[in-house]
């Protein structure tokens, strides 16, 4: 917990500032009073912060006027400028850095792998992985760090098996991806980590090209690789795999850790998730809404002058979307600052909206639907092993979560 504080960290941008689970009051005030505010990003670039649910949804739905491909979204003053060639290589295959039709081309290669039906076929294996980790926790006995022993390894193993990444490599890639998304680290360091990640993935892609397996890398090589007449370049393969590896374990793991903490703070709601299988679906949506772990997603760049919430945003401006605050907008739903797992939280923006809506959402939902009840049933007396005030939140991380969650049972 002290580690991030002792480091000379940059000031947190407003949309990432929290008090425990909640966006800070100033963020809620932007949403409720102004709607749109001029801010400065953590990179020191001026931007427009959009905070109301209907405005955020409208921006996400309008990829023609709010582009994901703007170069300035990833530029940091003071960072060494990348050559155009390296920039393009680093961007290749990253679905989040393209607009249609380039985005559509990549996304269509991946959608067959994430259909609801395909996810259901994975269910038995996910159940097994969850049970194995619960067995190991039970065997070792309390206390445990729920992040290290449960929340992180489960989605990490699932995405490794799905993608075709050796789980034995987890220590290095877990640390690398986590540090890559830590905005308190100097940009040079994060860039070096991104290069390291691509080198690691380049090696795995080369192996898949030589002998494609039954996993997703193998499928992409077989169905879309240049060896079989497809148009997916090696750089794109590397980019896709790197994005899926990061997105596959950095997100669900934080939902499992932070979600368990939220339920422990609301014992009546925890009991509902534990005891009522019919309540689990709604509970997951409410936890997604309430926790809003992806503070903002990828900033958009306006392609023309455009009005949002009564404010004219000039062409070529950065637009930051305050997803977590939007999910609690009183115009969207009443009592949004309260966790209520019995409510219908449909329409939340935790997975985004528009063409970049989270590709892995069906997988994440399935992992959570299995993992939360299984954990709570195995350890019905699950409790915090430290006072709540001592639980360390990951304040500087692109995705909100916990550093550790000491529990006992």
């Amino acid at each position: 917990m002290t580690e991030t504080i002792e480091r000379e960290a940059p000031e947190l941008p407003l949309h990432m500032r929290r008090e425990g689970f909640d966006p800070v009051p100033e963020m809620a005030a932007v949403r409720d009073d102004e709607g749109v505010r001029r801010v400065t990003t953590s990179f020191g670039v001026p931007a427009y912060l959009v905070a109301r649910h209907d405005d955020v949804r409208a921006v996400l739905a309008d990829n023609a006027r709010f582009s994901n491909a703007g170069r300035r979204a990833f530029d940091a003053p003071g960072a060494p400028p990348l050559s155009d060639a390296e920039r393009e290589r680093m961007r290749a295959g990253n679905l989040l850095a393209f607009d249609p039709p380039e985005h559509t081309r990549l996304r269509r290669m991946l959608t067959p792998e994430f259909t609801v039906r395909r996810m259901r076929r994975l269910e038995p294996r996910i159940v097994e992985i969850v049970d194995d980790h619960l067995d190991a926790m039970a065997k070792a006995g309390p206390p445990a760090d729920l992040v290290a022993d449960f929340a992180l390894p489960i989605p990490s193993l699932v995405i490794c098996e799905l993608l075709g990444v050796p789980y034995a490599d987890r220590v290095s890639f877990q640390e690398r991806t986590s540090r890559q998304l830590d905005i308190s680290l100097p940009m040079d360091d994060r860039l070096a980590l991104a290069r390291e990640g691509r080198e690691y993935m380049a090696d795995l892609v080369a192996r898949a090209q030589a002998a494609p397996g039954d996993d997703m890398l193998g499928m992409l090589v077989r169905d879309h690789g240049s060896g079989s007449g497809g148009d997916l370049s090696t750089d794109e393969l590397i980019g896709i795999a790197e994005l899926l590896l990061i997105a596959g374990h950095e997100t669900t793991s934080n939902m499992l850790g932070l979600g368990t903490l939220a339920l422990l703070r609301h014992p009546d709601q925890l009991a509902l998730v534990r005891d009522d299988p019919a309540a689990v679906g709604h509970s997951i949506e409410e936890l997604l809404r309430f926790l809003g772990i992806v503070h903002s997603g990828i900033p958009r760049t306006t392609t023309e002058d455009v009005e949002v919430g009564g404010v004219v945003i000039p062409a070529d401006s950065l637009v930051i979307l305050a997803l977590a605050a939007a999910n609690r907008d009183p115009r969207f739903l009443a009592g949004g600052d309260r966790l209520d797992v019995a409510r219908d939280a449909g329409g939340h923006l935790a997975f985004g909206h528009g063409v970049h809506h989270c590709l892995g959402a069906p997988l994440a939902r399935m992992e959570m639907r299995i993992a939360f009840p299984a954990l709570l049933r195995r350890f019905p007396r699950l409790a915090l092993a430290v006072p709540f005030e001592e639980v360390g939140f990951r304040a500087f991380h692109f995705i909100y979560g916990l550093q550790a969650l000491p529990v006992t049972w």
């Binding site: 959608t111 259909t115 909206h353 528009g354 809506h357 069906p362």
Partner: protein, 64 residues
């Protein structure tokens, strides 16, 4: 109530299948297939929610 789907716009997020599986399915490529163009009354609410929540805006409802 009728449902229309634009399969060129669909991004295969699967929200409709999760929301109203009696009305929607995905083909092998993950793209939406409307199972019940004329939505039976008992599934109308779920179908309307699916249309509203479609991330890509591929679904349209046509009221009688």
């Amino acid at each position: 109530m009728k449902i229309e789907a634009d399969r060129d716009v669909c991004i295969g997020a699967g929200m409709c299948v999760m929301t109203a599986e009696e009305v929607f399915d995905q083909d092998d490529d993950g793209i939406v297939v409307v199972l019940e163009v004329e939505v039976p009354a008992e599934h109308a609410d779920a179908a309307a929610r699916a249309v509203a929540s479609c991330p890509s805006g591929a679904l349209r409802r046509i009221d009688d």
